[in-house]
Symmetry: C2
Subunit: 330 residues, 2 copies
């Protein structure tokens, strides 16, 4: 067994001094302290990190419904990058399933393992919000806002307005929309906000949405493809469609291809997200800086950790209309 007496001998001081030095007490010459730490290190004496002293875990938890989907992977990547520079570790908590959702917060488990939390696109229930608040940890939200927490997101409403205005400016009158399913497990404010922006521009342009021109899909290619099949089977087709995500637009394109329709010529499509493959698909879209969203959420956490009484911040990052070949003048 290796003890402080050995260290004392090696450092040429008394055990008492070693004891004081190792615990960070006063009345120890800094040179002596350094010598002692060096000796302890070389002897492999288990120095309890100052982290434990402050009850710090040097770890931030990320709570996300998905890990591999584009948006979430990008956001996680941004968080990861910013936290790595600050030498903080990341604990990954996924709960796509209803199963275990409550357990996550109920257990004090999490409280002991992280210094802070970042949640991506998760609109918890009121109950969960209260639990999160009671954790008394710095918390940052990505992709949506709540007054209680710091958050960084985009203005979905404004982005949807820009997208729709683009279609209107191109002369389209019969404009359809592929919305997110509002029957989904949890309620994405995202979906509603994008749809509201769409509707507001339509109204301002003196247009109305033909119910036949609206379909619903999850935010993925497959379900979008099926939804588009549905829409294309109807009589009165729109000349342009606002898809609530790029991946929806990909699905729509696949469906159109199978129906022998060409994208800009027969129906214009505009997406939303700035997905990595949008350039490949030649898709006009509203790009959002997802990675930056993640980075900024991490920064806000870092600030809170550094200055615990720094104010809660709500931030909207700008979106960009990127015009490509999937939309054309009517």
């Amino acid at each position: 067994m290796i003890g402080i007496q050995e260290i004392a001998i090696k450092a040429g001081v008394s055990p008492a001094t070693v004891s004081r030095a190792l615990r960070g007490l006063q009345h120890v010459n800094e040179q002596t302290r350094a010598k002692i730490f060096a000796a302890a290190e070389s002897l492999g004496y288990p120095i309890e990190a100052p982290s434990k002293q402050k009850g710090k875990t040097h770890t931030v938890g990320i709570i996300t419904p998905y890990t591999s989907r584009w948006y979430f992977a990008e956001a996680i990547g941004g968080v990861e990058q910013a936290l790595r520079e600050a030498e903080l570790d990341i604990l990954l908590y996924n709960f796509s399933q209803i199963h275990g959702r409550e357990k996550l917060f109920e257990s004090k488990h999490i409280r002991e393992r992280v210094d802070a939390l970042i949640t991506i696109s998760l609109p918890p229930t009121e109950e969960e919000f209260n639990t999160m608040l009671s954790l008394d940890l710095p918390i940052a939200l990505i992709g949506l806002h709540r007054p209680e927490f710091s958050s960084v997101a985009i203005d979905d409403y404004a982005g949807a307005r820009t997208a729709t205005q683009h279609l209107v400016d191109l002369g389209h009158k019969r404009i359809g929309i592929m919305s997110g399913e509002h029957t989904s497990t949890w309620q994405f404010p995202v979906t509603q906000n994008r749809r509201s922006g769409f509707m507001s521009v339509l109204e301002a342009a003196g247009l109305t949405l033909n119910p036949q021109h609206e379909v619903f899909a999850a935010f993925d290619i497959d379900s979008a493809e099926r939804a588009m099949d549905d829409l294309l089977s109807r009589k009165d087709r729109p000349t342009a469609i606002f898809c609530c995500s790029d991946e929806m637009a990909y699905g729509a394109m696949l469906s159109m291809r199978r129906h022998g329709l060409r994208c800009p010529e027969d129906i214009s499509l505009i997406g939303y997200d700035g997905h990595k493959m949008a350039e490949f698909a030649d898709l006009t879209t509203i790009a959002q800086p997802v990675r930056t969203l993640g980075e900024m959420a991490a920064w806000s956490i870092l600030e809170k950790l550094h200055k615990p009484d720094s104010p809660t911040k709500t931030l909207n990052l700008p979106t960009t209309l990127i015009v490509r070949g999937s939309t054309r003048q009517l």
Copy 2:
């Protein structure tokens, strides 16, 4: 200060018995032990969790060079899914940079935080291997094999052979390849294996690789696009190209599009990976079950944790040739 003597008094036993009971030693009546734990609890004596007794953290570390790139995000997703079912947490360690690479293993930090490690596509140096071995933790590798560790991957060589054979069977004679850069920071065995498989089929078919028909790119769209620009600027163009990844093939398609070339008609392209968007791109490819790779790595870890002396396993999962519209009979 509250100590075991107080507990001893409260439980009506001697301090020695309390000491034994609290540390889970033998020769303690279970009733006595229960009484002692109850007394300790009521006095607020800090009982170190049984987790700590067994040195269990209920956490698995994932070491990966990227978090958001498709392959890595998928693999992480698979691991995550399998570990979540086993109620294990995930600590995410990223080191794309040279910076900090050594520090990760040197610090005993990691040893105290995880029960096991899963590393994705990282061929460490000999030195790092030794450090990993000395950690004495269950370790599983994804995407490559080393005899010292359990690993799950695909047979890159065989997959490349299948891909190349497909091109040969279609009657192509002038077959090019887009290889991974071997000047990369670390050495991907993946790159070499796929290239070797390609070369072996070429040779067996009595064909030779025209050096003009080989270009190098990183495993992403942009650099592949530039590499394809380079290849297309050369005189003698191939009629088919084996791209070492799907994303390379996307880049190649973009470049061809800009050069006014059509994909199957002018040059056939085959990819490798089974990327999510390959169907959208109508790309013939060698699909690999990345998510399953992650799941199986997690399972092998779970088995090792359950039965510490279970054998080290090396597993190859099959790849699948998926023929789409990007390759055609010559």
